[in-house]
Symmetry: C2
Subunit: 216 residues, 2 copies
């Protein structure tokens, strides 16, 4: 049995955006059943959890004897079971891994920086000075991606784990009206989000946090 | 033949820190010979290059029919040829990929943010406001790593591609006296840098840029 570790409850702005969504989505695409292990925020900081996850983060995935963290590594692992996530042909596989790392290394940090400014530093007096260059960096990456998507439905051939990562990265900017400036890119994000596996994963995460918020 | 694409020349602060170092180092560890394809900065912005590398970045690696970018994906690919970089045993392999993604997703963005502030925004009046929280985030990740390294020589069992990525990530902070606050972590970084393959890779990159700077 596969066991996915995530937080038991999160602040309301994070519901629908917790990174376990990537793993839930991949598991739905692969048709693999899983159970949840729910963690209180405070538990993530304790030595017992930090021995498994040194950054006190979620998600983690337990697959028999194997315990993995980092959503990229988890998706790569699930890809070994499911060629839809990670094709077996060497050429196609290389392109998918390229785009998995691109989503997490070349796009996410720039988008996350904007979210950090707007969400965690809102109102601090230096933010107005920091924001223009951060937004310019994010927009450059969005423009690069929009250009890459000319004539492509997915980042690397068929739909793959790379699209799961990139779509969830783009969703960091929900409500900021930035992705929407790029026609191909926003159509791509919407195409990802129309997949039944995404909808199921999102609904499941939202249902959990609706429940735990009521209980809180 | 393997062909590594990198910049023909770089500003002096970047010599020794261009990300092709990760690939050079991995190639030296694997004992794989390679040739260079040198790119002018201006060429990286041209459509011909952006068809191969949509973010106008280096490094790229050409391996026969395969062309890859993203240093993480390139190291994963080289790992298929070289078990020292990426072990074949499923458990060991999973731990190495976890730490490859951890280096690039959970550590590098926080360290790179500090470098961006100090190097690219030095003197702007908002930086003094932005820096404390950026430094706190970076220090948290360094502390997490230092704790993980208790009783470990390398991140995941034996030396692997994960250590190549993490060491080059830590080197982003060279001269900032932050890694040096953590005994195990700085000893780990030094242990990585003592490897003959690292020394050869670094010497080769420095030699190229010494040469092209003289020519400029």
């Amino acid at each position: 049995m596969l066991t996915l570790t995530t937080f038991r409850s999160v602040p309301s702005f994070a519901a629908g955006y917790v990174r376990d969504l990537r793993v839930r989505w991949a598991l739905e695409e692969a048709g693999l059943p899983y159970q949840l292990r729910l963690l209180a925020f405070e538990e993530a900081a304790l030595p017992a959890y930090r021995k498994e996850q040194p950054f006190s983060q979620v998600p983690m995935l337990q697959d028999g004897e194997l315990t993995l963290f980092e959503s990229g590594a988890i998706l790569l692992h699930l890809g070994e079971r499911c060629p839809l996530l990670l094709p077996q042909d060497a050429h196609a596989r290389a392109q998918v891994t390229v785009w998995m790392f691109a989503a997490l290394s070349s796009v996410e940090p720039y988008l996350a920086e904007l979210v950090t400014l707007d969400l965690f530093h809102a109102g601090e007096d230096w933010v107005a000075g920091a924001r223009p260059s951060a937004e310019a960096m994010a927009l450059k990456r969005l423009r690069d991606l929009d250009e890459w998507l000319a004539g492509r439905d997915w980042l690397a051939g068929e739909f793959s784990a790379a699209d799961i990562l990139m779509c969830t990265v783009l969703r960091l900017l929900d409500g900021m009206d930035l992705v929407e400036r790029f026609g191909r890119l926003s159509a791509y994000r919407d195409r990802c989000m129309e997949r039944p596996a995404f909808r199921k994963a999102l609904a499941d995460q939202l249902a959990l946090y609706a429940q735990t918020s009521q209980a809180a």
